[in-house]
C-alpha cells in the first residue's frame, strides 16, 4: 500500500473520531464487507460509539434448510448429480449437508464458473444434473447466461434450482421489522455494480436512512464510514455512491438484460426472514424446462436446530457471540448454522478474527 493511502486512512480515521459524538449502529449488508472490515482491522480505527453490525448479505447464510433438504432429496432419490458453488456444500440440512451426500457416493461438483455445469452435463449425457443457482444479483447474470447457452445447445440433462435472491427486499425487511435501530447502511459493492445506485432508490426513498455504497479496500471502507458518520451526526440522509470506479448509477446494463431475459421476480424463502415478497429470481416460461421444481414437487418439512440463532444473526438482532452455541458447539470445523459455514458469514468472521 502506498504511504499516501495509509496516511489518508489514518487521517480519515482521526476525523471520524473527532466528529462522531452519537452512539450509532451501522449495518454492513454484505458478507464480504464484514469479512474485509475484520481482515483489515478497520474496527480498531473507529471510536467506541460506532457499533458495526453484520447483515444478511451472504447467499449461503440466507439459504433455507428446506432448500438444502430439497436438493439432497432429489439427488438421493433420483440420482441427480449436484453442481454448486463454494461453501453451500457444508451447510447442514435436516439430516446432512451436500458434502455428506458426496461422501455417500453421490456426485457433487463444486465449480467456480457456472459454465462448468454445461461441460459436466454434456460430457455425461446419461446422467441428470442440478445446477444450484445460488447468489444475489452478482452471480445471477452468469447463471442466466449459462442457461441461455444450455438452451441453445438443447442440453436435456441439466436442470436448475434457483436460489437467486434480490438484496433490496431483504434490506427493506430489516428496516420494516425494526428489530434493530439502524442509523446507517454500508451498501454492498458487488451487488450495486449490477443493480446500480438506482437499484436502492426505492428502499432509500421509503426509509430515508444514510446509505453509502462502498468498495472493499481499506480506504473505501474508512471513507465510506466517514460519509455515513457525517450524515448521522448532521441528521441528514443521502444515498451516496462512494464506489464510482465500479458502480454506475444505472448499474450494468448487459447483466440486467440477461437477468430480464431469463428470470422473473417472485416470492422467495429466506433463512431468518421466511418468505419475502418479490425477493427471488425464478425462471421465465421460456426457460422453465430447466426448473427442477416442475418435475419433483416434494413436501419438505425440515427439522429445525432449536438452539442455533443464525436467524437472528442474519437480521442483525444479535451478534454472533450472543448465540449460546458460538465457539462452544458451533465452530468452522463443526458448523451448526450457515453463518459459521460460509466464509462470508458473520459467525465465521467473528470466530476467525477473534472478536467476542
Amino acid at each position: 500500500m502506498e504511504t499516501k493511502q495509509k496516511e489518508a486512512i489514518l487521517k480519515i480515521s482521526e476525523l471520524i473520531k473527532k466528529i462522531s459524538k452519537k452512539e450509532k449502529t451501522i449495518m454492513e449488508f454484505c458478507g464480504t464487507h464484514t469479512h474485509e472490515i475484520f481482515r483489515f482491522g478497520i474496527r480498531e480505527l473507529l471510536p467506541k460509539n460506532i457499533n458495526l453490525l453484520s447483515g444478511p448479505g451472504c447467499p449461503v447464510c440466507v439459504t433455507s434448510q428446506e432448500d438444502i433438504d430439497y436438493i439432497i432429496k432429489v439427488s438421493y432419490e433420483e440420482n441427480f448429480g449436484v453442481i454448486t458453488f463454494g461453501d453451500l456444500v457444508n451447510v447442514k440440512g435436516s439430516e446432512m449437508s451436500l458434502n455428506d451426500l458426496r461422501i455417500l457416493g453421490r456426485e457433487v461438483h463444486i465449480v467456480y464458473n457456472p459454465f462448468d455445469a454445461i461441460n459436466i452435463a454434456s460430457k455425461n449425457r446419461n446422467k441428470n444434473y442440478i445446477l444450484i443457482g445460488i447468489g444475489f444479483e452478482t452471480t445471477a447474470p452468469n447463471l442466466g447466461y449459462t442457461l441461455i447457452k444450455a438452451k441453445e445447445m438443447n442440453l436435456k440433462n441439466l436442470f436448475y434450482y434457483s436460489l437467486n435472491k434480490l438484496t433490496p427486499p431483504a434490506m427493506e425487511a430489516i428496516l420494516k421489522m425494526g428489530e434493530v435501530k439502524l442509523n446507517g447502511i454500508i451498501g454492498p459493492g458487488h451487488v450495486s455494480t449490477i443493480i446500480g445506485k438506482e437499484g436502492w432508490m426505492n428502499v432509500f426513498n421509503e426509509y430515508k436512512i444514510p446509505f453509502v455504497i462502498m468498495g472493499f479496500e481499506p480506504l473505501d471502507l474508512i471513507y465510506g464510514i466517514y460519509l455515513l458518520v457525517k450524515m448521522i451526526e448532521n441528521d441528514e440522509a443521502k444515498l451516496i455512491n462512494a464506489y464510482k470506479r465500479s458502480v454506475k448509477d444505472e448499474g450494468n446494463k448487459k447483466a440486467k438484460e440477461i437477468l430480464n431475459k431469463v428470470f422473473k421476480v417472485s416470492d422467495a424463502n429466506w433463512r431468518g426472514f421466511g418468505t419475502l415478497k418479490n425477493s427471488g429470481l425464478f425462471l421465465k416460461d421460456e426457460f422453465e424446462i430447466f426448473e427442477i421444481r416442475n418435475y419433483f414437487k416434494y413436501e419438505i418439512k425440515s427439522k429445525k436446530f432449536l438452539s442455533c440463532r443464525c436467524d437472528e444473526v442474519i437480521r442483525g438482532v444479535i451478534k454472533p457471540f450472543e448465540c449460546p452455541l458460538f465457539k462452544k458447539v458451533c465452530t468452522p470445523h463443526n458448523p451448526v448454522g450457515p453463518c459459521m459455514v460460509s466464509s462470508e458469514g458473520a459467525c465465521s468472521a467473528y470466530y476467525l478474527y477473534g472478536e467476542n
Binding site: K6, I9, R39, G41, N90, Y112, N113, P218, S343, G354
Partner: protein, 332 residues
C-alpha cells in the same frame, strides 16, 4: 487410441514388469538395480526418516507435476530438520485407465527431480486399482537423510526478539493449483513455487548458528505453521503484512477467489526463526540464492502467548488463526 494402464499392469506378472521396466529405465542406480525386497543402505550418522503421500488434481500443473512434487516434498521434509536427503522410496498407486504416456512423463519428471535434488530412488512399488477407486495416480515417497551434528537444530531455544523469515513469495502453489482446477486464467506468470530446498537450507545451517527453527509451510500455509510455532513454544508472534512477499498474480488470484494466500500451500518455501543479531546476514544469504531472492523478514517473536497477530498495512492488528475450514472460492 492412446495406450492406457489396465488391471493387467497391476497383475504382478508381465504387465507389472512393463511398468517396472519403465521405472528402471529412468531411475536405475546401484541399489535399485538389485531389485531386492528391501534396499540395503550404508549410513553412519544420525538419520532422519519421513514419509508423505501425494494426491493432487490435476496431476500436471504449471510449474510441475505430481512426480516432481512427490520428490521435492519429501526432500523438503528432510531438509527442514537439517537432514541431507539421500535415499527415497517410490510407491505408485495408479487408477485403471491412466494413460501410459502420462505415466512415462511422470517417471521422467521424477528422474529429473531426483537429479536436481541429488537423491536416489532405492526401492519402490506399483499397484493398479480399478477405475473409480483412485484419482488417476497417487504417489507415496519415504525418504532417509543424515543429520550432521552442526546442522542439528533441535535443541536451539526460540527466544523473545527472534525474527521470522521466509525465502520468498507466499501462496503460489496452492493458488496456481486452484486456478488450474477452476480453469480461471489470469496471466502467464501463474506458476507453482515447487522446488527442492536442500540446496538452500543445508549451506545455511553450515553458516549460521542462530537458526533456531525451520518448517516448510505446505498444507495450511504460512498462517498454520506460525500458529504451530506459537502454540508449541508458547510465544506470541507478530507478522507484518507490508513485509510479506506476495506476488501480484497471487494477490489478484486471492481477490478473485476470496482465498487468503497465507492459508494456501507452498512447495518451495521455508519459514525460519532466526536469532535477531544474525537475521540480516541470513536474509542476505537467502537473497543471494536462486530459491531465496524474494526473501524477507516478516515478523518477530514477542512475549509469551499462544497467538499469532498480523499487523496490517494500515497499522491495525488482527488475529491470524490456524486454518479452520476447506479453502473454497467465495460466491459474492
Amino acid at each position: 487410441m492412446n495406450e492406457k494402464i489396465t488391471l493387467f499392469h497391476g497383475s504382478g506378472g508381465e504387465g507389472t514388469k512393463i511398468l517396472i521396466d519403465k521405472i528402471l529405465k529412468e531411475l536405475n542406480n546401484e541399489v535399485l538395480t538389485e531389485l531386492l525386497d528391501s534396499a540395503i543402505l550404508n549410513l553412519k550418522e544420525t538419520i532422519a526418516f519421513t514419509t508423505d503421500s501425494y494426491v493432487i488434481s490435476p496431476p500436471f500443473f504449471k510449474g510441475g507435476d505430481i512426480g516432481k512434487l512427490s520428490i521435492f516434498g519429501t526432500v523438503n521434509d528432510l531438509s527442514v530438520v537439517g537432514a541431507e536427503p539421500l535415499f527415497l522410496s517410490l510407491s505408485l498407486i495408479i487408477e485403471e485407465g491412466f494413460e501410459l504416456s502420462e505415466f512415462e512423463r511422470i517417471i521422467a519428471s521424477i528422474k529429473e527431480a531426483s537429479e536436481i535434488a541429488k537423491v536416489k530412488i532405492v526401492t519402490g512399488d506399483t499397484k493398479v486399482v480399478e477405475k473409480g477407486k483412485g484419482d488417476k495416480i497417487f504417489i507415496n515417497t519415504s525418504g532417509i537423510g543424515v543429520i550432521k551434528e552442526n546442522r542439528n537444530i533441535r535443541n536451539r531455544k526460540i527466544e523473545c526478539g527472534d525474527l521470522i523469515l521466509i525465502n520468498g513469495g507466499i501462496g503460489e502453489h496452492g493458488l496456481s493449483i486452484m486456478l488450474e482446477r477452476l480453469e480461471v486464467k489470469i496471466g502467464d506468470e501463474v506458476k507453482s513455487d515447487l522446488a527442492p530446498l536442500n540446496s538452500l537450507i543445508l549451506p545455511l545451517l553450515d553458516n549460521f548458528k542462530g537458526i533456531k527453527f525451520l518448517r516448510d509451510p505446505t498444507r495450511g500455509g504460512v498462517a498454520t505453521v506460525l500458529n504451530e510455532i506459537s502454540k508449541k513454544f508458547n510465544f506470541e508472534i507478530e507478522i507484518w503484512e507490508e513485509n510479506l512477499p506476495i506476488k501480484n498474480w497471487v494477490k489478484e488470484a486471492s481477490n478473485i477467489l476470496g482465498i487468503d494466500p497465507l492459508y494456501t500451500a507452498n512447495e518451495g518455501k521455508v519459514i525460519l526463526v532466526v536469532q535477531r543479531d544474525e537475521a540480516k546476514k541470513v536474509l542476505e544469504f537467502l537473497r543471494n540464492h536462486p530459491l531465496g531472492k524474494d526473501a524477507n523478514i516478516i515478523g518477530e517473536v514477542k512475549g509469551s502467548g499462544d497467538k499469532v497477530y498480523l499487523k496490517t498495512e494500515i497499522g491495525t492488528r488482527r488475529i491470524l488463526d490456524t486454518l479452520k475450514r476447506d479453502l473454497l472460492p467465495r460466491i459474492c
